[in-house]
Symmetry: D2
């Protein structure tokens, strides 16, 4: 098989300080579709090109941040194999029963040394993107509203023990390193961009003393035009913007960083690279993250929020 093991980040559960404010942001301003709510009060949303039932789950809580990210794996056999592999590697795993998350099968939950919770799952109801599977339309006008992201694309997470997390994702979960930023001393990685496909990252981690922190969840846009359009919509709704529109040097993506009403950073992102695992990783010196345009290729500066503002 060519695409095997872990397929993609399939969902992220975000903590928001006020549920209805969060729903207004992700549904009405960003343009995700609200799919359902569960008995815990969690709200499930999906992006317009996603075929699975949901990708973003909002949970009201006293502090903002990320509860967990779930990776869709190819099938049940893969799920069982990866569960065994994690355990063999020394990672403690637990199972959440099918249905604990609505429309979703059994999930294998584990914590990585950066303090983040992940889960693997093989099954989620496929509701389609509204275009049909017989003689489909190219896109679904009814689902195209707000900023209209295509997909939940990736997340960047901050926490300790980056080298261990990196090793686990490569050796157990089959990700490969696409790009990396070195620490100021040049002695170790500060940020790693890891892919399980030909995207420039399906997940990224940065070294940080406090565990379990979220830097941003990223949403894939259709074009650079749509990145600006998303920025216009942010401005119309007074969504606070952090950086952009600009090009990232790292990943070459085109981007805006902004914050949801709870302070969770999100990204509207367009990329055109197709990095393959046979390709040498790209390396950025710490200085180049700022002055070299790694973060902001046009402005060539290290926006101070990038290394400090997290949830």
């Amino acid at each position: 098989m060519a695409m095997t093991g872990v397929l993609r980040p399939g969902h992220a559960q975000l903590r928001v300080l006020n549920l209805e404010d969060g729903v207004r942001h992700y549904r009405d301003i960003m343009g995700l579709t609200e799919m359902t709510r569960d008995a815990q009060g969690r709200v499930y949303l999906k992006c317009r090109e996603e075929v699975d039932h949901h990708s973003i789950i909002l949970r009201e809580a006293d502090s903002a941040g990320l509860d967990f990210i779930g990776f869709k794996v190819l099938d049940e056999a893969t799920l069982e194999r990866l569960e065994r592999d994690l355990q063999a590697y020394g990672v403690e795993t637990s199972r959440l029963p099918a249905g604990e998350m609505l429309e979703t099968g059994t999930r294998v939950r584990f914590k990585v040394p950066s303090g983040h919770q992940f889960e693997l799952y093989a099954q989620k109801t496929q509701v389609g993107n509204g275009c049909g599977t017989l003689n489909p339309t190219p896109w679904n006008p009814a689902a195209t509203h707000g900023m209209a992201p295509l997909r939940f694309d990736h997340a960047l997470l901050y926490g300790p023990n980056l080298a261990e997390v990196h090793k686990l994702f490569v050796e157990v979960l089959g990700f490969n390193l696409v790009e990396r930023v070195l620490n100021p001393e040049g002695t170790a990685n500060l940020i790693v961009f890891l892919s399980c496909s030909i995207k420039s990252h399906d997940i990224a981690f940065a070294e940080y003393p406090e565990p379990g922190k979220l830097h941003h969840c990223s949403f894939l846009m259709e074009s650079w035009e749509d990145v600006l359009r998303a920025g216009d919509i942010m401005s119309m709704h007074k969504v606070p913007v952090d950086i952009g529109p600009t090009r990232h040097g790292v990943t070459r993506g085109r981007t805006i960083y902004a914050w949801d009403p709870s302070g969770n950073r999100f990204e509207t992102f367009k990329e055109d690279r197709q990095p393959y695992p046979d390709q040498e990783p790209l390396t950025w010196s710490f200085e180049a993250l700022g002055e070299g345009g790694g973060l902001d290729y046009i402005q060539r500066k290290l926006h101070e929020t990038f290394l400090t503002v997290l949830t």
Copy 2:
């Protein structure tokens, strides 16, 4: 591992009636870079975002068409495994020694029931895209000329025994079916779009009585703007255009089909889908290929050349 087995179509060897006319087309008009020529007189070219040494090889011959397509596989172990799997499946294979194609390792050659030659290889010199791997630039101005395609993306091939070819690519080589067009009777597939990644196709085949025919080689463009710009350049150089610019319903790609000086069709193509193997294939009825916009979503017609003009 998440990306395993076959990674991508890595090269295609095309027959051209006049070598220098072919070079002028692919190098000067399309904007590929001529990398080298070998003792047989073959010309090796690469696209601007490709890291490997070459992707298109031109060979002068009395008839136009495709000699073979080569797929890059993950590593030598994969190459050996797939060679054994092919043989176990009943496919005859042979080995071409490293260096027979310049800058390229051992290739495992085999013929599929549609009459097309393929090869697998694990090694090709990586010359890079000219952006460097330490603090890279986002793109390489020196390599951005002519139509400036990013990559050789896929090919569509016509020949007999589609069902057998389809089965071989899925069961042995690990591809998955992303989309398909049914025959007029609705009893079997007429065209299958097969992926070994999250592209909508890495290779496609159509049922056709004559074996080993080429419909087109496709080149990935950066944007819909660049598809039109490519069309402008075709027109400036009187490159004969077949279809487009338009949107394909199948794959949702944005496209122009045109012909090189030998009559080999090529495509300038932009797509934004990310189909995954856990997703149900999309099906098109034969009627919908034309009237349903499968071929030309805007014009909703079956251009007669599509099913008949091949090399």
Copy 3:
């Protein structure tokens, strides 16, 4: 004054065979806003960036086509001057009272030798584009639906006596010739593109034996992305498409031609030229209209509908 005299085509009254089908097309599919209906049953619509009350008026009739086009002029003094100038030139004029067309001042009506009715007016209620005039938003999400054209841009009209019409528009109304297509013999103009601004045309005329015919009304799109998006929407609604998406050689515009439910051709159009009146007109030979890419720069062919299908 720098912009003086005639400012722009401000409205076109179209005959449609079924009013509600027409409204569905222009309002629901194209995305104009229905502003009002009058006692005659006419429906008034506007495009999203237009500040004036309306630009397209639909009237139900037994035959499709164009009733008239109205040009907005700078002010009342200009209206009176141009009325006198027309009369002095030998053109018969009449006045329609303010309010005969809702929200519109007095109109000076006249017929040109091609058999088309035109009118000049200096006053129409300015309702704005919904962005406000104090600290405005850059665009109005509430008005951005369907194909979302920015403006009614121009029309191409077919009729006899092209040279006389050309002369009248230049000498009396102050238009200038931007481009022209010669007749097959090269002895006279076949089509003239006339501007009263720095658009490549505010009105165009083609020589044709039958008077008063409409070739198309054109709507300005924001980008080439939006031209394709308009094409997608046409296809979704089975709007019959004539030509495109492609680039016109003439005007360099990017275009789709299609038909409304009554058979009136319309265009979704994006242009980036700024031709000034001090610039030499561009000339196209008749052969170049087809093979030279004047009509369809990518396909380099004269689509037969272009010279024959009119309302």
Copy 4:
């Protein structure tokens, strides 16, 4: 006539501290074409879509800044009329003979109360854009290099006596006010955007105590894609960037501000508005220039350089 009087800003003469550094910037990095040099050592350049011989003139001097801006007027009669009108209005004028600026006719020079030198001229050699005037190509590949701006579009100038300058441009030169920013007290205009066409500005002025200052010269880009591409090229060449890429709220343009090697600010700019003189001007409060997104619609902040860094 519809386009009369002043047509457009046709040239700007810039002072640069080192001529060859300046030429490298405007010619090699921005992609203007060097047309000629004169006996004074001035370098004449043109943008790819300009038909006239040149638009930017570089002069080496001890201080950076703007020498003058020249407006092309419709014809010699207009030149004479405007000369008389300026004198009648109390503006002192002088004549520079044809040929003092190469390929350029007589220029009528005058100084406005903000301390800026302007000139009017009716004649400049038309060299064309390289596409021809008979069956032209849509764009000229040979002239499309570097950032590839289409035209010199406008300039923003800082100096005293804004109200007087505004009055002069409207009453004598026929410009109209398209947008304006009020001063902090709301008692007068701080910035006025003046147009002699349907561009959102052909010239803009800001109130500032020191006379004759240049804020920026702006260059029109073909698309938002090209604005980013220009930003990439700035970064590749370490051109210092001031603001952007972003959208201006004022004018709705998409923009990057950056500095040439002498510290003269320039803009790469894309706009899609067509403001007409019958349309009410848009007004921005001073607060809205920053927090309301007038300067930077996405970031909604007043970058401090905007009001302070000038040449």
